[in-house]
Each structure stands twice: as C-alpha cells, then as structure tokens.
C-alpha cells in the first residue's frame, strides 16, 4: 500500500499474504476437485485400494475414504475442510466417506461456471440449500422403503451392498454374519430406545495368523493375557468373577512419607507389615470364594502365592475398557478396594473362562451366551490385511447400527442419486429467476455417483449414463434403477439387492452441500495470521 508521498505504509505484518476475489473462489474449487480426484477411484465395487506411506515408513492399505484422506497432508485451507468432512461422515454414520468427498468436489466444481458468469455466490448458495432440502424430502418420502429390523435377511442385503465395495467382499457371507451378530449382541433396549454402542462394547481383536475364514464373533471378551502364575486353572466353567482396579501389592501412600529406622528390629517389622497388608487383601478376596480375579493393576508374587493356594485364577494389568466390558459380560461390579468387596460385586453371569494358545500368544476368553458385549476376533495373513479388514468391518457394523436405528433403505448403485437428479431437474423448471441454474446444477452433480461407478469398472460412461437417465425419465416407477458397479450395466437394484441405509445417503448429501456452501461464501484468504491464542470463539466476557 502506498501512502501520500510514495512512502509505503505497513498496515499488516509483512508475513501476511492476502488473496481475494474471484481468484480465491476458483482456487477453492480447484482444491476441492483435487481432493475428490484423489479418491475417486475408490468408489464402488470395482474400487482400488490406495497404498499410503507415512513419513515414518508405515504403510496403510485401504479404500476407505476417511482413512486415505487422514494420511494425506494438504496445504490448501479449503482442502483441509474437505478432509474434515470425511471425518464427520465417518463419525456420524461410519460409511459413505468416499461418496461424500466425490459429491462435494462435484458440487463445488459445478459452481465454477456460475461464478465465471458472475452470478453472486449468495444466489448459488440459496439455490443449493433449496435443492438440498428438496432432495432430502424426496429421499425420505419417495425414494426409500422401510424394512423390518428383525428380519435378518433384509439387513443382510444392506450389509452385503455396503461390503460389496470393500476388500472383504470375497468373504462376504462371513463378514455379514459377523457384523449382524455383533450388533445384535450389543443392542440394549433402554426404555424403548435402542442403544447400540459399538465404540464401547464391541471390540475388534486382531490376531495375525490363520486365515480370514477364522474370523468370528465371540460373545464375551478376549484378552491378550495369560494367568499370572502357570499353575493357576486355565479353564473354569461358570466362574465367579471379581473385578478389581487396585494393586495387590504393597504401595506407599500419595503423600510423601519417609520412615526413619533407628532400631534393627524395625526393618523386619516393616517387611512383616507389608506382608500382613497383602495377606489381608488376599483374605478379603478369598472370603468371597471367587474363581477368577481380574485387576487393572499389578499383583505381587506374594499375593499370587496366596491366591494360588486358594485356587483362584488371577489376571493382571487389564485395560480399563476391557474391564468395563468384562463387567458387562459377567455382571460384576468393579471394586477399587478389597475391603469393599461384597457378595453382590461378584459376577456370576459368565459361562466359561478359558485360555487358549493362538500362535505364539495366550488369549483369555470369557464368554456368556446372554451377554451384551462382544469381541470380534479377526484373523488374517498379515497385519496390513487385518487392518483393512478391521476398517471394512467397522463400516459394516455402523451400517447395521444405522439400519437398526433408522430402518429405512434407499437403492444403492447410484440409483438414489439418479432418481433425485431427475426429480430435481423437473422441479428446477418451476423455479423462477437465475436460481434455476444452480438448482439444476445440484441435480447434475448428483450424477457423479453413477458416473464414477461406471468409470471405475471401465464402462462407457456416456452411453450408460444416458441410458440410465432415459430409464428414470420413462416412468417414476423406475426409481430403483442404477448402475451395477461390477459390470457397468444399468440394472434394477431391486433385483440386484443393493440397498443402502437412508441415514448414510442423506448425511452424504447434507455434508457435501453444506461444505460447498461454506466454501463458496469465501472471497478472501488471509494466511499467516497470528496463532489464535486460546479461545478464538466469540464468547467473551460480556458485561452482564
């Protein structure tokens, strides 16, 4: 900035870079398109995996949109926002992360033409929002069908279509059974509301070795632990279980205490005392006659000895989350201090405790047929494969959960998107003014899903897409027609049995459109601003 007299006037600090206007808008759009292009090939059943290498040399192999983008470091701020939405999608629904990015990229790039024609972004935004609302309404009312959550077959179809795009698709039936079983196990009916907490109660234990066919759902808990003393029992039926989260060893207090010993006999007294304390702890446990004791902390040799003599099996150093799951399996209450142990804290619901050796390591199984916590035991030839199987299974679990919570389905294979696109184009004709064009653009961008499906399986994009468009235009009853992602042909999804949960697809639409709305509103990028020191939110001290 030049002031009067040619002296430069420094207003902003010199490290600040500022871009504004049209340039920024186009830049944002390009960034979004680039991100979308990265994972475009991971959509659909003919999806390819990406191999990502992090700076540490670790490898991730996946076709999960979120997992891919998480590993990429991007510089452009708009691209960062795009990556964020994959995460949001993952957290909210667990599936559809690739679709959301592909769609958002397309919605953004459709806006470019309007910006070039000098249509004000706010007008584009209004049209986008209107289109989104209409699309959601249509999807909920017209293009979806309800299913019975108790009908396993129907749910299996949905899971199958979700897994169809994943690596695990070769072991489809197995994976579907696992996902369904796991979710059904952890479903708890709480006052008419189904609670399905996958994060807490469904653990995925990965054990390298064996084949993928060996994967299974264990109703109960698997721990990668062995008993503390080799002579303890390794198999107990109907065990009485005590869960502790305290040490069974002598520990000093929290305050700094120091003991000054002057007399010789005191030293033996101290040792004796330690022994007495442990003895007392063990006696308190033994008094309740449990068969099994789990603790989150350590167990001293002395305590092991006492407990072994009482015929009690002990496992130590559990994770808190594992302990919580155990509590749910065996009905015990976690006790912190042995002197607080009561009869009602002992869990009796577990049916079998068993330790088996898999490969090189010992695994503890605590199972019960009535439990509401489960563990999915994954086997596979290598760690990377298991990791990818885990990601696939997570998606499948979420899909089952979503369907159980919101039992409405939409046709997959791009059929929903095509149906919506068709309906929106029709509706767009009745809209007055400039808004009509961006409104229709949303419809056009929805077609990116079927188009990418065709592309990924090497079909003829234009021929198939026009055929599909024609099919939808012929009659409103053809709303289930979409692309068969394997062959690239147009098929009726009813026959192919590809159905997605409504909640996932709607979330895809919402997130994609809302993100583009946010990014389109930007006309200025200032970089190199100061690091926001703490609360950058607007909530400041207000005079009350």
């Amino acid at each position: 900035m030049m002031g009067a007299g040619g002296q430069p006037i420094i207003v902003l600090s010199q490290g600040t870079k500022r871009e504004s206007g049209h340039h920024v808008q186009i830049g944002n759009i390009t960034a979004c398109k680039t991100i979308a292009d990265v994972i475009r090939t991971s959509l659909g059943p003919r999806a390819m995996l990406k191999m990502l290498m992090d700076p540490m040399g670790g490898i991730v192999m996946t076709n999960d949109g979120n997992a891919i983008l998480r590993e990429i470091t991007v510089k452009h701020p708009a691209a960062k926002s795009m990556i964020d939405i994959a995460r949001t999608q993952d957290e909210e629904t667990g599936d559809g992360t690739t679709s959301v990015i592909v769609l958002a990229g397309e919605v953004m790039s459709q806006a470019q033409q309007f910006l070039e024609q000098k249509i004000h972004p706010t007008i584009i935004i209004q049209a986008y929002r209107a289109a989104l609302e209409e699309a959601i309404k249509l999807a909920e009312e017209k293009y979806s069908r309800a299913i019975d959550v108790n009908n396993d077959e129907e749910i299996k179809t949905v899971v199958r279509s979700c897994l169809g795009t994943k690596m695990i698709s070769k072991w489809m039936d197995l994976a579907v059974d696992i996902a369904l079983n796991a979710v059904k196990t952890i479903r708890v009916d709480k006052g008419g509301v189904n609670e399905i907490d996958i994060k807490r109660y469904c653990r995925i234990e990965k054990i390298p070795g064996g084949t993928i066919e060996d994967c299974k759902v264990i109703k109960g808990v698997i721990l990668n632990k062995d008993v503390v003393h080799a002579k303890m029992r390794r198999r107990i039926e109907n065990p009485r279980v005590a869960l502790l989260d305290c040490n069974l060893e002598y520990k000093k207090g929290e305050s700094q205490t120091s003991l000054e010993i002057v007399r010789e006999e005191d030293i033996s007294k101290i040792l004796e005392q330690e022994e007495i304390v442990i003895r007392k702890q063990c006696d308190e446990i033994i008094a309740l006659k449990p068969d099994l004791v789990f603790t989150e902390k350590g167990v001293s040799d002395l305590a092991q000895h006492f407990l072994l003599k009482a015929g009690i099996t002990v496992l130590r150093r559990l994770k808190k989350t594992d302990n919580n799951r155990l509590a749910r399996v065996c009905g015990a209450r976690i006790v912190n201090d042995t002197c607080d142990l009561r009869e009602e804290d002992i869990g009796t619901a577990a049916e079998l405790f068993e330790i088996t050796k898999i490969g090189d390591e010992y695994y503890t199984y605590v199972t019960s047929s009535k439990t509401t916590a489960c563990t999915v035991c994954l086997r596979g030839p290598s760690k990377d494969v298991i990791n990818e199987v885990e990601r696939n299974l997570q998606d499948a679990l979420h899909v089952v959960r979503n369907v159980m919570l919101n039992p409405r389905l939409v046709p997959g294979g791009g059929a929903l998107e095509m149906a919506l696109a068709h309906a929106l184009v029709e509706k767009g004709k009745s809209i007055e003014g400039v808004r009509q064009f961006p409104y229709k653009a949303v419809a056009r961008s929805l077609e990116v899903i079927p188009r990418t499906l065709v592309q990924n399986c090497g079909g003829s994009t234009i021929r198939q897409l026009t055929a599909l468009r024609a099919k939808h235009a012929q009659s409103a009853d053809n709303w289930t027609w979409g692309i068969d992602g394997c062959s690239g042909k147009i098929v009726d999804m009813k026959e192919l049995g590809i159905w997605d949960p409504l909640s996932v697809r709607i979330q895809v639409l919402k997130t994609a459109v809302e993100t583009s709305v946010m990014l389109l509103r930007i006309d200025d990028i200032v970089s190199g601003t100061k690091k926001s020191s703490g609360g950058d939110g607007p909530v400041k001290e207000m005079p009350m």
Partner: protein, 554 residues
C-alpha cells in the same frame, strides 16, 4: 521523498524517527481505510466470508468483523485503533462490528480531505462531535420504535437481520426462532429492583459435527459436555439432587514438598489408610445429604466411583468451572469449594444441593452429553449446533452468539430501528439539512459526517453487485420526502432490498436492528475517528539493536 525526520533527529535523546503534520495524518487515514477495505466485502446479507489461515495452517472461516480483525496481525498503530474499535463494539453490543469499522474509516477519509483543505483538525473534531450528538438524538426520537409495536415477531426479525449476512443465513427462519426462544428462557428478574435481564452467557452453545445445520437443537435445560465417570452409573436420574463441587474427590495428598516422617512402621500403614478415608468420609457426607448427582470440576478417583455406583448416584468429573457456576445458578445449588465450615468441621448440608427434574446422558453424534432438564431455580437453555465440520461449526457459533446479543439488546432496551441502510440514509438527509443551519466552519464537518454515513448503504449495494450511486440516490430521495412532508413520514423506513436491488419499506419487510446497536456504533466510530484525527505527530523509536533496512524506506 518527504523526510520530516531528519531535522528533529538530533534533538531526540534516543534514535528514532519522527513523522509530523499532514504526512502522518495521511498515513493514518490510509492505514484505516486499508483495514476497512479488508472487512468491507463481508457487510450485508450478500456479503461473503473470509478464510483466515494462521501460521500452523489452522483455518478460520468467518464473516464477523471483530473476528477477522482480531486474527490479522495489524502493525500500523492507527490501524490498531480500528481493530480495538471492532473489539469494543463486539463486547458492548456483540453485533455490527463490521459496520462500525467501515464508518470510522470513512469518517477519517473525509475528515482528512477537509484538513487538507486547511481546515483545522479541531474544527473537524468539533463538527464531528456535534453531528454525532445530533444524529443520536434524531435517531432516538424519530427513527426508532418500541418492540411492543410488533411483539415477538420483531425479536425474530431482529435476529434474522443479524443472521442474514452469516453462514446460517439460508436457515434463518429456523435459527431465529431458536435464538429468540433460548434468550427468553434465560430471562432473569431481579427480585429487588424488578429489572429484567437476559444473561445470554448462561446459554451454553455446544458444537458437535455431523448431521446438518438444520438439525441443530435447542435444549430446554443445561447441556454439559461431559460424561459420567464410570459405566456402572445410571445414565438417567429423575428428580435429581445436584451437588456442585469445586474440589477433587481424590486421595488426600499433602502439598508438594511436605513429607511426613514417622518412626513407627505401623503408622505408615495408618497414613496410607487415612488418605483413603478422608475422601471416603467426604463422599459419605455428600451422599448422606441426599445428593444423587455429583458434578465436580476436579477429578474423581477410581476408588470413589464404587461408592457412587452403589448409591445409584451419577458422578461427573472435570466439568468446566464456568459450566458449574451456571448450573449452580440454574438449579439453586451452591458451588462448594470446601466442605469445611467455620468451626473447621467438614459438613455438607442438604441446602447446598440444587434440584432438577431430570438428568440424562444422551448420545449425540460420536459424543455423549449430559443434559439437565427442568432446573428449579431458573430456566436454562442450551443450543447444540450441528454442521459439516469444525470450521463451519465455529462460524455458526459466532453467528449464533451475535444473534443472541442482538436479541438480548432488543429485549433489554426495547427499541428497534429499520435496517438495510435506512437509518444511515435518514441521518444523512437530516444532518445535511442540519449543517445548513450552522453558520460556522463546523458546517463543513457536519456535512462530511453526513456523507460518511452513506458508506453503509453504498457498501451494501456494492456487495450485492448493484449500482450503488443509483440506489443511494433513490434512497435519499425517499428520506428527503419523509422529512419534508409530514404526511409522507412513513417513507422514513425506506431501506435497501438487496435481493431485487430496489428501495422498499424495511419496517414492513421486517429488517430490524436494535436501536442501541446503531447508537453505539455511531458513537464508537466517531470517537475512534476523532482519536486518530487528533494525532499530528508520530515518534517511532528504533529497537535497541540497530537494524538495517527499516520498513519506512526513507
């Protein structure tokens, strides 16, 4: 090149640079205008957002003038005054931060022109003061109207006006309803004076990503972003008795550096036990008082959890202290810092408990929240925002906060003005007429003040890609008629319709702003402009260590 500095250098004891007179004034004005130009394009319903990227790459997307300027690293001292001005407006009013900066910069620009024409700065300052006073008076008397005239709808409209420029603009019907309701829920009547206040700070705005903006919700109760301490605890408690604690329920521990020396080994074990027992006794006392929900700002040791679980009580650890204070207020609880009473005994009295109908832990997106419903002492409200990602949520939070401020101002001050440049145009017409009644030099300054106000309608129409000259001329014509002819006084509500690019009755259209916000922004802008215009000398001392190539490039 102008070098004001050289002559003075020898007189100053320290090495430095001195700029005086017109040169510094122009510099200041240029800097101020530069700042205003940055935020200019975010004004109005068709204004756009800024994306701010900081040095580590974190992104903020915002439309809020104060936030933009706060994030910028402004170096020029005069520009800093404007940044502070926006901050002030944000704190005092909460909205209108962009417009105040733009008006101040315009006042400076026009003032500088006058000074260049050899008008003394003090004359300009006096003129501005006078004009500001007149403008505020006229605004309050003629251009504002009470809320009662239009009722609740006017609140909603005021909230909508503030939102229209923000990211939540397309959903303003939905959000305005929410904001107004949230504000009404936190109404507090001071029993002593009967004064009604709306402490919007008590509205807890939480963010959870996922779903869409439309699925944001208002919770009639207090939402707390915490979870119960362990899974054995009940997730729902009806008729809750709440204890708010501001200390940790952890094993008693001596302060650092204190060590206990014992010589009897038996005592060692006794100390260890006592550490346990101190906290256990405390919990027993709290539970004995009937508490079934314990909220603490500190931690809860695992060893204490069982006591709560057995009593069927809910324990929540690491609540924010600000949250606890508000919950204490809403439920009638006392935020307890220590159980010790005056005699040094540890007691917990049932009167310290707060009451609520229901406390429940709810799952939202991937997170869980604790929601307190039906608080007894006061009603509370919380807003949970949903959106595509964090950047968007942050901006939504800022927008909702601005609207809350606006609604509160409207409710508290009870007067509204029409928006969309209506007030500015009316004041412009009025002040110009007023200027002609003055026979002193101030006349010029008052006239320039009037001209400066027009920057708001001008910027609004420019942002909407309309012909600003044409529109503003039309607008002024309407206001002139309204002020000349008492029969046409309804025309004084005329403002801009930026969608269609026409002039319309903005009172009818429901574009409202709180009168107080307008008054404050005129006053603040004038004050800031005066502060900068008064400067005629800038002395910039060099840094201790001499550095070559100073940016002043002389």
């Amino acid at each position: 090149l102008i070098q004001m500095a050289t002559g003075a250098e020898s007189i100053l004891a320290l090495t430095g640079r001195r700029t005086t007179g017109q040169s510094i004034r122009s510099q200041n004005v240029t800097a101020a205008v530069a700042i205003a130009n940055i935020v200019k394009s975010s004004l109005g319903p068709v204004g756009l957002d800024k994306m701010l990227v900081d040095d580590v790459g974190d992104v903020i997307i915002t439309n809020d003038g104060a936030t933009i300027l706060k994030q910028l690293e402004v170096e020029h001292p005069a520009a800093k005054v404007l940044v502070e001005l926006a901050q002030l407006q944000d704190e005092e009013v909460g909205d209108g931060t962009t417009s105040v900066v733009i008006v101040a910069a315009e006042l400076l620009k026009l003032g500088d022109e006058l000074i260049k024409n050899k008008l003394h700065p003090t004359t300009v300052i006096n003129g501005y003061r006078l004009a500001c006073k007149e403008a505020v008076k006229y605004l309050q008397e003629n251009l504002s109207f009470p809320v009662e005239e239009l009722g609740r709808q006017s609140l909603i409209n005021a909230a909508k006006t503030s939102m229209s420029s923000k990211i939540i603009g397309p959903d303003m019907d939905f959000f305005s309803e929410m904001v107004v309701e949230a504000t009404e829920l936190v109404k507090v009547t001071d029993s002593a004076t009967g004064k009604i206040t709306y402490p919007i700070k008590a509205i807890n705005v939480l963010k959870a990503h996922g779903k869409s903006a439309r699925e944001s919700m208002l919770i009639k109760g207090y939402a707390l972003n915490c979870t119960v301490a362990c899974q054995g605890m009940p997730l729902q408690i009806k008729d809750a008795k709440i204890a708010c604690l501001d200390f940790s329920l952890q094993k008693a521990k001596m302060h650092l550096g204190i060590s206990v020396v014992v010589d009897d080994p038996v005592k060692l074990e006794a100390i260890r036990r006592e550490e346990f027992d101190i906290v256990k006794r405390r919990i027993e006392k709290i539970l004995a008082a009937g508490a079934n929900v314990i909220l603490t700002s500190g931690g809860i040791d695992d060893l204490c959890l069982k006591m709560f679980t057995e009593a069927g009580a809910m324990g929540v650890r690491r609540c924010k202290k600000a949250d606890l204070k508000r919950i204490a207020k809403a439920t009638g609880a006392t935020l307890t810092c220590s159980l010790a009473n005056l005699e040094g005994e540890e007691t917990f009295d049932a009167t310290q408990l707060g009451h609520a109908d229901e406390i429940v832990q709810q799952r939202i997106s991937d997170d869980e929240l604790i929601i307190i419903r039906g608080t007894k002492a006061r009603t509370a409200s919380s807003i949970i925002l949903r959106g595509a990602n964090d950047t968007m949520l942050d901006e939504m939070e800022r927008s909702v906060h601005d609207s809350l401020c606006v609604v509160r101002r409207v409710l508290e001050s009870g007067r509204l003005v029409a928006g969309g440049g209506a007030v500015e145009a009316a004041l412009n017409v009025y002040l110009e007429a007023f200027a002609t009644t003055l026979s002193s030099r101030e006349q010029l300054a008052v006239a320039e003040f009037a001209q400066a106000l027009l920057v708001i309608p001008k910027t609004l129409s420019a942002n909407a890609a309309r012909d600003s000259t044409d529109l503003v001329a039309k607008l002024r014509a309407f206001h002139h008629k309204a002020q000349q002819n008492s029969k046409l006084s309804h025309l004084k509500w005329a403002g801009l319709d930026l969608e269609s690019g026409e002039v319309r009755d903005n009172k009818e259209a429901g574009i409202f702003e709180p009168a107080m916000s307008k008054v404050k922004s005129i006053k603040f802008a004038t004050e800031a402009a005066i502060t900068i215009l008064r400067i005629d000398d800038l002395i910039k001392l060099d840094k201790e260590e001499p550095r070559g190539g100073d940016q002043c490039g002389a």
